[in-house]
C-alpha cells in the first residue's frame, strides 16, 4: 500500500544509527507521557531528530515545538501492519516517552551536517551590570556598591546603587548600546526618586559605550556624569567566570 513508508522507516533507522539529522514531514499523531501527558490528533507536522537524540515536533506555526524530547533519548522505529510508521522516543529520568504515528510521509531526509563553527554570545546589558557590580571601579575609583538589587518601583532594572569616595549616593544607569537622551531622562527619574527618600546628596552616572547626539548636552544640563564603559571591558571582568567558548570569542 505505502511502500514509501518502508523506505522511510529504513531511512529513519539509518539516520538515528549514524547520528545524522533527520527531518520528516508527514501526517501524524503525537502522544506524550511523562512529566505530564499530551495528545495531538492527526495533522501534518515536521519531525526533527538531531544527532544527539533530541526530538522536535513542529506544527506550521509557533516558535516552540508542540512536542519534543531532550537529548539522549532512545528510539524504536517500526512499521505496523505496513500502514503506520511508528517512531518512539523514550528517556529515563525522568521516565517519559514520545510516540509519533505517521500514515503518510511527504518528505524525509537524513543530513550529515558538517559544523565546526563557533558560536559566540556578546555581552548583554545584564552582564554589563554584573561586571560593574563585580568591579565598581569600572565607573569611578573609590565607588562602593550599596546593595545588589535596589530595584526601583518602575521599569528599569539595569540601575545600580553605590556610594562614592565622598559618601554621596550614586545611581548608575547602564546601557549596552550608544545611549540616547532617553537614557539621561531615565537616570533622572531614578535620581529624583532616590532624592525624595535619601537625606543626602545623590549623584547620577550614565555608563554606555558611547553617547548619541544630544545626550551629552542633556546629561550636563541635568547635572549628571557620563562614563564610557564598553561591553568588551565588561567582558574582561566577567571572563574568568565564564566558560571557555565565551572567552574564545573576544580574541
Amino acid at each position: 500500500m505505502s511502500p514509501q513508508l518502508t523506505d522511510c522507516r529504513d531511512l529513519i533507522i539509518h539516520a538515528i544509527a549514524k547520528q545524522k539529522v533527520l527531518i520528516v514531514a508527514g501526517n501524524c499523531t503525537v502522544n506524550y507521557e511523562g512529566r505530564a501527558a499530551s495528545k495531538l490528533t492527526w495533522g501534518e507536522r515536521v519531525l526533527m531528530i538531531k544527532a544527539d537524540g533530541s526530538v522536535l515536533v513542529h506544527r506550521r506555526s509557533g516558535y516552540e515545538p508542540v512536542n519534543w524530547q531532550p537529548p539522549k533519548c532512545q528510539f524504536r522505529v517500526s512499521l505496523d501492519n505496513g500502514k503506520l510508521l511508528s517512531v518512539l522516543a523514550t528517556r529515563q529520568k525522568p521516565k517519559e516517552s514520545l510516540r509519533l504515528l505517521f500514515d503518510k510521509v511527504t518528505m524525509a531526509v537524513a543530513l550529515s551536517l558538517a559544523d565546526e563553527g563557533e558560536f559566540a554570545m556578546h555581552v548583554t546589558e545584564e552582564q554589563m551590570k554584573r561586571a560593574i557590580m563585580l568591579d565598581p571601579s569600572l565607573v569611578e575609583p573609590g565607588l562602593k556598591l550599596i546593595s545588589e538589587e535596589t530595584r526601583m518601583g518602575e521599569s528599569g532594572f539595569t540601575d545600580v546603587y553605590a556610594e562614592d569616595a565622598r559618601g554621596c549616593l550614586v545611581v548608575i544607569e547602564i546601557k549596552r548600546n550608544p545611549a540616547s537622551p532617553e537614557a539621561a531622562l531615565q537616570l533622572n527619574r531614578y535620581v529624583e526618586t532616590l532624592r525624595k527618600r535619601a537625606n543626602r546628596p545623590v549623584r547620577g552616572i550614565l555608563t554606555a559605550p558611547e553617547l548619541r547626539s544630544g545626550t551629552s548636552t542633556l546629561l550636563a544640563r541635568l547635572g549628571y556624569d557620563y562614563k564610557a564603559v564598553s561591553p568588551e571591558r565588561c567582558f574582561q571582568i566577567l571572563k574568568p567566570r565564564t566558560d571557555a567558548r565565551l572567552s574564545e570569542f573576544l580574541q
Copy 2:
C-alpha cells in the same frame, strides 16, 4: 556559479509570501543583534521559517535552536553577487535582527502543512487544582471549599481556599512537581495576606507529589502542613468528569 542559490532564493521568497513552512539546509553563518548579540561562524545548519514568521536555526545537536526569532518578523531575502544567499529576519519591539548568509544549500523545501489537529495536555498543575477543588478530601478529611476562585491580588493562581473541620481558614498551595523551599515561601505569602484580612486562624497546606530537600524544614518552621498529592491521584478524580476529547486519551 551557484545557479541553485538563485532557485533557492526564489523558493524562500515564495514560501514566506505564501506562509508555508520553509526548511533549508546548507552552509551558513548567522549573526544576531538585538536583546543581545551573537555570531556563529561558517558551518552546516538547518534553517526553518514557519508560517507565522518565526525563525529557527538548528545545529546538528541540541534541543534548542542556536539562533532564532519569535513569530511575526519581517524578511528580506537576496542573492549578493550571485554567490551569497542572504536571509534577514527583523523584528521591532524589541528591535532585533537575525541574518543568515548561505554559500551552499544542500536542501530546500517549502511545505504546506495541513494541520487542524487538536492538542491536549493532561494533568497540569491547573488540573491538579481542579481535582482538589472537586474533592478537597484529597488534602484532608473534612475540608470544605470556600470559593472556587478566590484569586489573591498577586501572583499565584494555583492556590485554593478552604475551611477545615474546626472552622480554620486553609490556604492550599498546589505543586505538580516536587516542591522546593520557594513553594513554602509562596504559601507563606498567601497565608500572610489572608491573615491581614481574616479575623480568625489561617492554616497553610502545601500539596505536591514530594518535597525537595530543605522544604520540609522550612515548612515546619513557618508552621504549615504538607500533604502528598500525586498527579496520578488527581487524574483519577478528573477521569470521569473530563470531556470526550480528553477521555479518548487514556484509552
